[in-house]
C-alpha cells in the first residue's frame, strides 16, 4: 500500500527531502515502519529519537498504518 511521508526539522536535512512516497506492506505498525525507514535512510540513525504523527495526530508504536495515510516524522520540537 502507498503512504506519504513528511520530514521536518533535522530529519528533512538528514534525508535531504521534505516528502517521500513509500510502498509498504499492508497493516504495517509504526514500530515496523520506523525500522523500514532506518533501512531506507540510515542517516536517520544520527538522531536519538523522533515521534511519528499519522494524519496530523501523534501515533503510538502499535498503531497500524492504512493506505494513503500521511505519516510525519517529528524530531524533538523546539517552538516558543
Amino acid at each position: 500500500m502507498k503512504i506519504k511521508t513528511l520530514f521536518f526539522g533535522i530529519t528533512s536535512d538528514l534525508v535531504e527531502e521534505s516528502q517521500l512516497d513509500f510502498d509498504v506492506k499492508n497493516n504495517l505498525s509504526i514500530k515496523d515502519f520506523k525500522q523500514f525507514l532506518i533501512e531506507k535512510h540510515p542517516s536517520l540513525e544520527n538522531i536519538n529519537s523522533y515521534a511519528i504523527a499519522v494524519n496530523e495526530e501523534y501515533a503510538e508504536e502499535d498503531l497500524l498504518l492504512k493506505e494513503n495515510d500521511i505519516v510525519a516524522i517529528i524530531p524533538p520540537v523546539s517552538g516558543g
Binding site: 513528511l6 521536518f8 533535522i10 538522531i47 495526530e57 524533538p76 520540537v77 523546539s78 517552538g79 516558543g80
Partner: protein
Amino acid sequence: MNYYFCYEHITCFEILKTMQRTSIKITSEKLDLNACYAFVEDDSCGGISVFVGTVRNDTEGKEVKKLDFSTYKPMALKEMQKIADLALEKFDVKKVAVHHAEGELQIRDIPVIIAVSSKHRKAAFLACEFIIDTLKETVPIWKKEHFSDGEVWVNAHP
C-alpha cells in the same frame, strides 16, 4: 423536526462559544501583541497575563545571528488548539490567545505570544505558564539557530 433543528442550533452555538474563547494563529507576519491583548479582554476579568517570547542574541556564549522557524502547520494549529482548550478546562480562565511566528526572525523579534484573561490573577499566571511549557513539548514547530559559522537545529539531539 423543529425540535431537532433547535437542538442542532444549540450545539452549534455551544461550539461557537468555545471557539470565541480561543484565538490560535501561526503566521509569517509580525505577531501583534495588541491583537492578542484585545482578543482576551473581557468585562468579567480582573486581570490579563501575557507571555512574550523574544529572540535572544546568544546560545551558551555563542552569538546568534537569526532564527528560522519551520512548522508542520495543520498539525501545529491542532496541537495549539488542544492546549488552549485544555487550559480553559484546567484553569478558571476566560479567554486564551496563542500566536506563533514562522519563517526567519531577527534578534528581539517575537516568536510567540500567549495571552490569558481571568477573573482572578492566579489562574491567568498558571494558565500562561502551562500553555508555553506544553507548547514547547508538543507543538510541531522547529527552530534553527544561525551563527556566524554555521547553523543548528535546536533540541535535535536531546
